[in-house]
Amino acid sequence: MTSAKTPLLALTGVSKRYGGVTANAGIDLIVDPGSIHAILGENGAGKSTLMKLIYGVQSPDEGQILWKGQPVRLGSPADARRLGIGMVFQHFSLFETLSVVQNISLIVPGSQKTLGARIRALGDEFGLTVDPDAMVHALSVGERQRVEIIRCLLLNPDLLILDEPTSVLPPQSVKKLFETLRALQAKGMAILFISHKLEEIKDLCDTATILRAGRVTGRVTPAEHSAKDLATLMIGRAMPPPMPAVARSGGELRLQISGLSHDNDDPFGLPLKDLSLTLRSGEILGIAGISGNGQQDLAALISGEIVQARSARDTLRLMGQPMADQGAAARRALGFAFVPEERLGRGAVPDMSLSDNALLTAHGAGLVTGGFISRAAERAFTADIIDRFDVRTPGPQAEAGALSGGNLQKFILGREITLAPKVLLVSQPTWGVDIGAATDIRRRLIEMRNDGAAILVISEELEELFQICDRLHVLHKGRLSPSLITAQVTAEEVGAYMIGAGPTKGAAA
């Protein structure tokens, strides 16, 4: 793309290294005034690093940043804001114990009273309604994002950076966000939109710069390319095809939850109310919903990290036995396995070797004899997982913390799958995992299902759930929607449950 205008922002040959890892190598980027420019790349491609350089959170090792034609040095985000750059972070930079207006007054000058009025006015103009006096901990994820956007807009930026803004939004809210962004563009603001979702970029953006492994691999007009072309530029090969699921009917009942309720210890947390679901062998059941609606407690209740009172023991049955009052070991003994969302710290111990990490849940699989660890068996077991699940690592002695997110996830999933569980609970299976590994993980889950395992997947990636699940429930504010058959509902219908709007067209099963 050529332009007669001076670019708003131009990067030439920008590089950034962390230790021995090159996060960005010789990046060239040109953003024109008033354009919506996409940065497309998968997890780990260097998008977030690049944005941190532009917003002054980090400084580049090499290369030059030009703002309106002038070379600039950005020492801190305050410098970037002074120039007219605003940023909405993926993991929000809001403070939960402060109110909305207090949060905003941290970087926007003015009294809280005048700010409150300006927040309301902006909200009306761009459809970003939020109560200035609300405490941030009481807001939903979508509302928090609006607060972040408003905080940027109050400083009248020329360039607004949004880092993966749609990853936390249901489909309806994504549409609303896009309307807001187009309205901002119409007022002359340029937008840098970071995403790994191809359809969104085709829908919204004028230009896209594609990153792979820290380098620019393409500059395209997204509307002129197919999603397949974009994917090839993004991951360097054709998108792997999804594994087809074999339809199965009516396996045996493996997990039954009926009338399960739980009050959260955290006063800002949500109580879970009267949850019921059933999970049979040979099916994958999904729990959709935006994070923070009770997912963590639900996973802990099913895995046995939270144990219920004896009087409520019937609320959760595994293989027909009441287990709600039993701990994690008892549940695992019945053939239950769990892959938590936090890989380091809960799924694996960072500074222990892979072998020792394998031992943590697989000690029953012949790795311990007479109370002593059988190192040879442990190593063989680990090497087998590494081999079969394509874990890229020097070997069983590597520390878990040294593996990339995707490889560690494959290892943990491999460890649990090797135990041949009857019921497998997987929480956020592909968070922060690159596309290749994510496809592989989904394929493994479908294979297991085809072999007759019962699998429960908690995920906020709606696309993923549609790909692998037979049925799904939506978790919203601690309540479960009715069971929905994946093949018979649309993303919009599921999205309606995600924002608490209830059933649109009946697709309950």
């Binding site: 959170v57 930079s93 403070f95 114990t97 402060l98 207090q102 941290l106």
Partner: protein, 304 residues
């Protein structure tokens, strides 16, 4: 003077050393740093304050020297925990021991010397009220300034941008850095402030409250101040309430012992600690308010 009048007259002064130190520590902890060296910084302040006041005859100079000494010692702590990202608990304990040792060293040749304290000031009008007037409302200038300071600190923490910045850094230093705050600078300044306040607190104890220097004279007040901050759920008003309650109870203990009540003195000596902690535990039992005020990143090292 009966027992009630005795307690009313003395409780504010008894509370002042703990309150001064606790207010300083409150600011430190609000930014997410736990400095357990309070006792040692107070001891150093007490020794330096006494030596300076004795030598130059000026309380103001004494307080200045104590504030400087406390701040310098706390900056050593800041260097270790912010610069070298050391464990805050271990570093705080070490600094505390260092401060106590330094106070013994410097104070050695001033042992058992005495100076005169500060005159009491009667608040106009209020001191004419019967019973509480001539007792509660007649205090030295530092007591009045400390109470004023507590009100001022409450206003700063809750109603100014500076206060919001301090709370933001303590809740989520990574987010604070992402929006452009210099987390380490803010924490370092807070630590120095806390050290200066602890030094002043020590100087009050050694030059005004009991105007003499004796090794070990801080006698656990630093630890009480630390407990007040936590049990006062990081709120200025509750911390002040706890400090005054503790002051009143510790005087009450003296009165009871002097009155010849037949209870072992060890048990009586426990009463102020137990009652203060119970009272503050009860008022901080509201979980929602506790969560609202707890400093989320307290004690956790931060590396940008």
């Amino acid at each position: 003077m009966n027992a009630i009048e005795f307690i009313l007259a003395g409780m504010l002064a008894a509370a002042t050393p703990m309150l001064l130190a606790a207010l300083g520590e409150l600011v430190v902890e609000r930014t997410g740093v736990l400095n357990l060296g309070l006792e040692g910084m107070m001891a150093l302040g007490a020794a330096l304050g006494f030596i300076t006041t004795y030598t130059y005859g000026s309380h103001l100079l004494g307080f200045g020297a104590a504030a400087l000494g406390g701040a310098v010692l706390s900056l050593v702590f800041a260097l270790v925990v912010l610069g070298f990202v050391a464990n805050q608990v271990a570093a705080g304990l070490a600094i505390g021991i260092l401060g106590t040792g330094l106070s013994s060293l410097f104070g050695k040749s001033f042992e058992s010397l005495t100076i005169t304290g500060l005159p009491k000031l009667a608040l106009p009008l209020l001191s004419d009220v019967p019973v509480i007037g001539p007792t509660l409302f007649v205090q030295d200038i530092v007591v009045w300034l400390t109470l004023l300071f507590a009100v001022g600190l409450w206003a700063v923490l809750n109603h100014t941008k500076l206060g919001l910045m301090i709370r933001a850094v303590g809740e989520n230093p990574h987010a604070a850095r992402a929006i452009g705050f210099r987390v380490l600078t803010i924490r370092c300044l807070a630590i120095a402030f806390g050290g200066a306040m602890a030094g002043i607190a020590g100087a009050y104890a050694s030059t005004v409250y009991t105007p003499l220097w004796a090794d070990g004279m801080i006698a656990g007040r630093g630890w009480i101040a630390l407990a007040l901050v936590v049990f006062g759920t990081w709120q200025t008003g509750r911390i002040a309430f706890g400090a005054v309650l503790f002051g009143a109870l510790s005087l009450g203990e003296l009165v009871t012992q002097a009155g010849g009540v037949n209870i072992p003195s060890q048990i009586l000596a426990c009463v102020p600690y137990v009652v203060t902690i119970l009272m503050l535990a009860v008022i901080s039992s509201n979980r929602r308010r506790m969560r609202q005020n707890t400093v989320a990143s307290l004690g956790q090292p931060f590396q940008p």
